[in-house]
Amino acid sequence: MTGTPPGLRTKCWSLGGAFLLIAFSLTGFRQLPEGLPPFVHKTHEVLNALTGAGGSFGFFSPDIGPQLVVKFDVRKGETWHRGISLEEFLPHEVAIRLGNMNRFLGQTYQDERLRRSVAASLATRVFARFPAADEVTLIASAHQIPMLAEYADGRRFQVDEVYRVRFKRGSRESEEP
């Protein structure tokens, strides 16, 4: 078959299949409009999961807001280790993925239980890194980057603490100071 020109039927099947998939990819890049029957949304979701077309490919779009940074204060007896981040123990490729999880913490403000669960899950990893720790405090801060013009006028990067929760070893309770 190598080098043999395709027949009309082969051309039609090949192009038809490819164009259907490409057309589907186009719909996958955007949310479907509301009001369509549920099976359409379900089919769209399944096909997205199979083809990888779901969601936008516009990384960092349309704009970039403040970044949530998660750090930990660790207490061992009377000694404190402050400002520890999980990223510093990880290779960069893994740290990028952890950044997604940190961002997820920032998206959970509507659901207090979910936010606390995410915080507890992350804090558990810090306890694993510091087996002798008595207490771990998670501090989530929003790093506000001023606009270009504002920075030129003297305004500097601003770090606003947005969430703080303390976990004690052996306790099922957490405290929000």
Binding site: K11, S61, H92, I96
Partner: protein, 303 residues
């Protein structure tokens, strides 16, 4: 333009005999990057996907639906330790990556790799990022294409003769990738940040991606603005420019430069290099290898 000329152009665009090496190089390049990603992630596999990882399995499942981790947990219920089940899954993925990259049983290994990729993508929206999405997007059509016509252990010796399937596959992947750039350009254009330079300024100064100190950019605001405008322009119009002779190659080189810049200045090494590689194999390499024998134009180049 008469119908016969349109038809001739259409046939030439999609079905002219084409060199199999661009698709083969894409296969090898993607495989190498997936292998590198695998090596970098493997030591932290349990933390990313394990039951007591950064996000616990029940939490991940509650947020994003059943994941690889929960499948591993199901297997654990049958008596196979969870950690071992996870390693078996990643072992299978490693095997698929090797077969895919080396071009041994290529179709089988591409399908197997795609299955593991779908599962990885389902393993939490948090354990994956942009590069994994491009792996997924490309693996799907590659299951249907012939990517082992060259650079393959399966066939030792010179590359296969030019074949319409190579051209068709190349066009399919080119169009798919160009659509992602169009989407990227239009999405970015919807916000003010890419027009006034603040998006570039923030990208480079975000704590997560800050590799170098770029605060000096505030003194030359035209520079981030120029980079932002260029990004919008080159991404949005790439689908048109890619098929213009000569311009397409230069355009692709600019896009490659942008991705290498992302790798260098934002620390997104695997993402930046993978995207540069995809653009090189799909839009630059075919210009050097795509000489095809066409009646009357023996030396014509396929973009």
């Amino acid at each position: 333009m008469t119908w016969s000329r349109v038809s001739e152009w259409w046939n030439r665009f999609f079905f002219a005999p084409g060199d199999p090496r661009p698709l083969a190089l894409l296969r090898v390049g993607l495989g190498a990057m997936m292998a590198l990603e695998w090596i970098l992630i493997a030591p932290n596999l349990q933390e990313l996907f394990g039951p007591h990882g950064f996000l616990e399995i029940r939490l991940m499942d509650a947020v994003s639906g059943p994941s690889t981790a929960s499948f591993a947990a199901e297997i654990a219920a049958l008596g196979l330790p969870y950690g071992l089940a996870l390693w078996i899954f990643y072992g299978i993925r490693c095997y698929a990556i090797l077969g895919f990259t080396l071009g041994v049983g290529t179709r089988f290994h591409t399908v197997l790799l795609w299955i593991t990729q779908v599962l990885v993508m389902r393993s939490g929206v948090f354990a994956v990022y942009g590069v994994d999405r491009y792996f997924h997007l490309l693996l799907f059509p590659m299951m249907f294409l012939r990517t082992d016509g060259a650079l393959s252990l399966h066939r030792r010796g010179p590359a296969e003769k030019p074949d319409w399937r190579s051209t068709f596959g190349l066009r399919w992947l080119q169009i798919l990738i160009l659509l992602t750039y169009l989407d990227a350009g239009l999405s970015k254009a919807a916000g003010p940040g890419w027009w006034d330079g603040n998006a570039i300024w923030r990208c480079l100064n975000m704590p997560e991606f800050r590799v170098w100190d770029f605060t000096w950019m505030a003194q030359v605001p035209w520079l981030p603005k120029l980079i932002g405008w260029s990004t919008l322009f080159f991404e949005t119009f790439y689908p048109i420019a890619a098929f213009i002779p000569f311009v397409g190659g230069l355009w692709a080189l600019v896009i490659i430069g942008m991705h290498l810049g992302i790798a260098l200045f934002m620390g997104l090494g695997i993402f930046g290099v993978t995207m540069a590689l995809i653009n090189f194999t799909l839009f630059v390499f075919p210009r050097f290898t795509g000489r095809r024998a066409r009646p009357g134009r023996p030396g014509a180049r396929a973009p």
